[in-house]
């Protein structure tokens, strides 16, 4: 597992640098606070349907997104608020969509499991396990064919490594040497079932990499710097024609699978152990160790909180979607007419 080097922090010789470190901090905070807000709004019965939070998994989204370039593609799952926010999608659009409001990213048509913001490179959240791996692979094919330097990044869970589409996408990505990065966020569980109970290997992604001619890579998914480094290497490989990567980030879902799930099946010690490894306070400590001013570190948090508050207000004030959009955008002509 790639971890932070043990030598004392040294900002002068830091391979990550001040700007990226602050970006990693801000991104993790944005995710953390929007997700907590989503949870609060759900408790107030303002978020309908289901929600799948990334609390505890923020470092993965932040690490990859900060290392990304504009134009790169993000593909994620129903657990996709984090990745969508990390690309810069507006918080009000995210919260509004969860609340089924007109200001939602999808005007209420998609819901929390389908957040998408093409203008920010967030190419969709996919709610049927496995589907988006071949789709992300296809976007990478497109980039390769068009001769751009775009990279397609695909996030998914440990449970997803056991579905057929995973296998097909990884094989074809390698055969065609595509600029795609498959990122498995191994949070130890599918919904309620421990991944170890249903998987033939210990590391559901990394132990499968050789089956696709790829390197086994495991990273501490609660360490934004480690993720960022691994991401940079993978982006470089992709952009230089070196083909796909498969990365397993070990992390933990601090809450239940979805809003309906209190997560009671998780052993107490396991929860405690991972709460102690919460990526957000850990990153805060690291910034202070590196000598960042406490006021700067906290200033960012205050900014983020203010932004989340403002976004919440915008979303709350937004009306439900207008009924007349019910039958729009089935087809590219803007409508839903299947007959003349």
């Amino acid at each position: 597992m790639a971890t932070e080097e043990t030598a004392g922090p040294d900002l002068a010789n830091d391979d990550i640098g001040e700007e990226a470190r602050l970006a990693l901090w801000r991104s993790q905070l944005e995710i953390r606070h929007v997700e907590q807000r989503a949870h609060d709004l759900f408790l107030q019965n303002l978020v309908k349907g289901t929600v799948h939070l990334s609390l505890g998994q923020e470092a993965v989204a932040a690490g990859f997104a900060v290392a990304m370039e504009d134009g790169d593609y993000t593909f994620c799952t129903y657990r996709g608020h984090a990745h969508t926010l990390a690309r810069g999608a507006p918080m009000s659009g995210v919260l509004g969509e969860l609340m089924g409001r007109e200001c939602g990213l999808l005007a209420g048509k998609g819901g929390s499991m389908h957040l998408t913001s093409v203008e920010h490179g967030a190419m969709g959240s996919y709610a049927i396990i496995g589907a988006h791996l071949p789709i992300a692979m296809g976007a990478a094919w497109s980039a390769q064919y068009r001769g751009t330097s775009q990279v397609s990044v695909c996030f998914f869970g440990d449970g997803t490594t056991n579905i057929g589409a995973f296998h097909e996408a990884l094989n074809m990505a390698k055969v065609w040497s595509l600029p795609v990065i498959f990122v498995c966020e191994n949070n130890l569980y599918m919904e309620y079932t421990p991944i170890g109970d249903v998987t033939a290997v210990e590391h559901p992604a990394a132990d499968r990499a050789p089956a696709y001619g790829m390197e086994s890579i495991i990273v501490d998914g609660n360490d934004a710097d480690a993720v960022y480094r691994v991401a940079r290497t993978a982006y470089d490989r992709a952009r230089s024609g070196g083909g796909p990567s498969l990365i397993e980030a070990k992390t933990y879902r601090q809450c239940g699978h979805s809003r309906a799930d209190p997560g009671a099946y998780r052993p107490d010690e396991e929860v405690e152990e991972w709460l102690a490894r919460d990526p957000v306070p850990a990153y805060r400590r690291r910034l202070l160790d590196f000598g960042f001013a406490e006021s700067a570190v906290e200033g960012i948090e205050a900014e983020v909180l203010a932004a989340v508050d403002a976004a919440t207000e915008t979303a709350r004030a937004s009306p439900p979607p207008p009924p007349d959009i019910l039958e729009t955008e089935v087809y590219a002509d803007g409508g839903a007419a299947w007959r003349n």
Binding site: G49, G100, K109, M113, I128, I129, G164, Y265, L326, E327
Partner: protein
């Protein structure tokens, strides 16, 4: 008579059959100790243990393939697909293998298996977790297709499906899971292929399925107050289809309305409409009208989803306008 919710009825039916027949086994995602994501399988793991109630990986092709292989070698598996939308990831096993293999082998193999799944909208889950796909299953030769609307029918028809020698796709309507109703005491087994007349009326027949049944009944009540008296039929089983009950209601009333949750094109309402249109042509007093979800993916926002699904109001309005 016990009062059960639809979700409790599912577990009750499975337990009833597992107690009776050791060849009944059950597999799916999170169905074991977790009791199912819809809490429809609570208590089964505790009673029947991990050999008969098996948690699987997220591998729907393996789940359905395993059920098929087990069914053709002496077991009676029940497979859960968490959401009916996920039929799409294992459709080959369902539509091309399970459905066709008895015929292709001229009867050498049997597939006494049940695939149960949470179907339909109303939970604000969006287009990939809300589909009503009864028509996907109905269109495939070799499958039987059942979709009950209340706890007693869930117990009786699920038991019948488990005992049936053919593959049965069993839809449980998500929006009905919380609905409570009486279930007969003791062993309860119903018959596939039988529709139920829920109320009789002389002016029109309304044919509905699953979550559309209570809405059709409520619409009929409204219409009755206005002087339009409708027969309401709960189809219950699309294959085999009880055309006798349906067609006799059409002949008697001269009018037919179908209420489907699935999107418009090629829904089961079209099949029933085409049968009635052909076979009751000379009894019809007016056009057969289908009430369906528009031909759109299902949206997630409350107001949009409610607008999309056939509502009591839309059913009543459509019948009224057409009869007027």
């Amino acid at each position: 008579m016990a009062q059960l919710t639809c979700r409790e009825a599912v577990a009750a039916a499975i337990a009833q059959e597992m107690r009776r027949d050791p060849s009944v086994v059950f597999l799916g995602e999170d169905i074991g100790a977790a009791g199912g994501v819809f809490k429809t399988t609570v208590g089964l793991f505790e009673e029947f243990g991990p050999d008969r109630v098996r948690d699987t990986p997220i591998s729907e092709q393996a789940i359905i393939g395993a059920a098929m292989g087990a069914a053709m070698t002496g077991l009676r598996p029940i497979a859960e697909l968490m959401f009916s939308d996920f039929f799409a990831v294992c459709w080959d096993l369902v539509a091309n293998e399970i459905a066709k293999s008895r015929y292709m082998t001229n009867g050498q193999v049997s597939f006494p298996l049940v695939i149960r799944s949470a179907n339909g909208g109303g939970a604000r889950f969006g287009a990939q977790h809300s589909q009503a796909i009864e028509n996907w299953a109905m269109m495939i030769p070799g499958l039987k297709v059942v979709a009950p609307s209340n706890p007693a029918d869930i117990v009786g028809l699920l038991a019948a499906s488990i005992r049936d020698p053919d593959p049965v796709v069993f839809f449980e309507q998500k929006s009905l899971y919380g609905t409570r109703g009486e279930v007969p005491d003791g062993e309860h087994v119903d018959a596939l292929g039988t529709a139920k007349v829920l109320r009789e009326g002389g002016d029109a027949a309304i044919v509905a399925l699953a979550a559309m049944v209570p809405r059709a009944v409520a619409a009929a009540e409204r219409l009755a107050a206005e002087g339009i008296s409708c027969t309401v039929i709960d189809v219950r089983s699309l294959v085999p289809l009880d055309t006798r009950t349906i067609l006799s209601a059409v002949s008697e009333t001269g009018r037919l309305f179908t209420v489907e949750e699935n999107p418009r094109l090629c829904g089961w309402g079209a099949e029933i409409a085409s049968i009635a249109g052909e076979e009751c042509f000379y009894d019809l007093d007016g056009p057969i009208v289908r009430i369906t979800t528009p031909h759109i993916p299902l949206p997630s926002a409350d107001n949009l989803e409610d607008l999309a699904l056939p509502s009591v109001e839309r059913i009543a309005d459509t019948v009224r306008a057409s009869m007027g």
